[in-house]
Amino acid sequence: MTRLVARLGYFARTALRGLAASPIPSGVAVATIATTLLLVGALALLIGNMQGLLDRVADDLRVTAYLADGLSDAARATLIDRARELPGVESVTLVTKEEALRRFRAGAGGRSGLLEGLEENPLPASLELGLAAPARSAEGLRRTSAALAALPGVSQVASSQDWVDGYVRAVDLLRAVGAVLGGVLGLAALLIVANTIRLAVYARRDELEILALVGASRAVVGIPFLLEGALQGTAGGALALGLLYGLFRLSLPALGHELELVLGFAAPRFLPPLGMLALVGAGTALGLLGSLLSLVGGRPR
């Protein structure tokens, strides 16, 4: 145990000494990782918020089936029963013609007089179907709408399927852009970190030779370099997180209107704790992988 602690202490001291010995290449590696993760993090933030809006909207997703005029009470009751039995349907609420008119008046405000003078209520009765959680998606809307439209006594079906479809496509597109951009930038960062560590290995070849002479194993020589890469990556990740948060706070007032268009009326949220951890962790992984890459090929015997 004491020996293990001693080894860990040695690795940490050597890694920190290595970083201090090459501040400029280390700084470049940290900045590269930070830039990469800032862009990826910004995309993740946007995607996360759009997805969040989708989730919130999904809770209120409804399919409305307008009923044909003159439907008998018995036929209406049968229709309600059959609608209840459709897969994915959680609730069915009947909105009578009178209720529809009342809602119109309540919602129309100053324009409620539009319907004044008409002899009879032109608004149709309808069924409002609430969906169970698994069916709250564009696909669920599509399936329920199609099944409803096929029922006798339904004259028209309306849902927010088109809007949801378009929004989901936008989120998917952004996710794909994020994956490609993250992949390309991640690879670039990986190569830069690998080359930085390779330079450090080259600059310290005399030291490595002496370490090998006194019996340092490959692990004892290599682990401080891996640790260096991991520290650079973690610093890059933390820097990216800090910058992202700063930009998020600063840009909110300036971009309020534009964000409202994309995110609806939902207030933008910063990355969740797990997301923040993932961003810093991605930096650590990038640094670790980069230094591992630089050490492939070994050292002199």
């Binding site: 004491t2 020996r3 293990l4 602690v5 001693a6 080894r7 202490g9 040695y10 000494r17 010995a21 005399d206 030291e207 030779e209 002496i210 370490l211 090998a212 002479l213 006194v214 019996g215 340092a216 194993s217 490959r218 004892v220 070994g298 015997r301």
Partner: protein, 242 residues
């Protein structure tokens, strides 16, 4: 040449820590740095390896600490076939073999104490113990008061004493020294050589490559002479002159 020789003098007992059987080393086809060398060095022996520049002294030492593999023949160091060792086993072997070079090979950015501790640190020795042992070793070479200085602030002789302290701090079974006094003046030469020789009195097998005849004259220990890669002479130890 005395092939298959056991320990030549008093301290040696049991299997010899260094054994070479028909060892050749060539870096390019037909050009041999060592040719068909067979020898043994016993436990606690102090042996000089001598010969002109290019005779193969350094090549022989490099083979012994597994920096090179032999082209032909077998080398056993502390019972291990060094030509067949994997990287981890090479590292383990080197923790039992101290090496001293003419150019000291100290880390300029580390203090004297850190340089000496290096062999202990890489072996995972707890820091407190490593510090204590490094201090004790530096005391033996008379440099405990300079432990916080950096090597470049020291004279050549002092730097070599640090290198010897580093080589001996983990009590190796073998000490290899390649021209350890090559960069030093006469007085320092004997001072350093006395330190190296003292390791043999504690049971360490010591092999010193040198072309300094004054050392051979003064210590009169077993002397192996290499010429053109061949072991041409194996002189036994003689009684030191009065």
């Amino acid at each position: 040449m005395r092939a298959g020789r056991r320990t030549a003098e008093g301290p040696g007992t049991g299997e010899a820590p260094i054994r070479l059987y028909h060892v050749s080393k060539s870096y390019q086809a037909g050009a041999y740095a060592l040719r068909d060398v067979t020898l043994e060095v016993g436990k606690g022996e102090l042996v000089f390896l001598t010969g002109p520049s290019g005779a193969g002294k350094t090549s022989l030492l490099r083979l012994l600490f597994a920096a090179e593999r032999p082209s032909e023949g077998q080398i056993l160091v502390l019972g291990r076939h060094v030509g067949e060792l994997r990287a981890a086993a090479v590292a383990a072997l080197r923790r039992r073999v101290g090496v001293v070079f003419q150019d000291f090979k100290l880390l300029p950015r580390r203090t004297v104490e850190e340089n000496v501790r290096l062999a202990l640190d890489v072996a995972g020795t707890p820091p407190r113990e490593a510090r204590a042992r490094a201090f004790e070793m530096l005391k033996q070479v008379g440099l405990q008061h300079r432990r916080h200085q950096h090597p470049l602030a020291l004279s050549g002789g002092e730097q070599q004493r640090v290198a010897i302290a580093r080589a001996l701090v983990n009590e190796p079974e073998i000490l290899l020294a390649d021209e350890p006094t090559g960069n030093l003046d006469r007085d320092l030469t004997f001072e350093i050589m006395d330190l190296v020789a003292s390791a043999a009195t504690r049971g360490t097998t010591v092999l010193v490559a040198t072309h300094d005849r004054s050392l051979l004259e003064r210590y009169r220990r077993r002397t192996l002479r290499l010429e053109g890669g061949h072991l041409v002479q194996d002189l036994p130890a003689a009684r030191p002159r009065a």
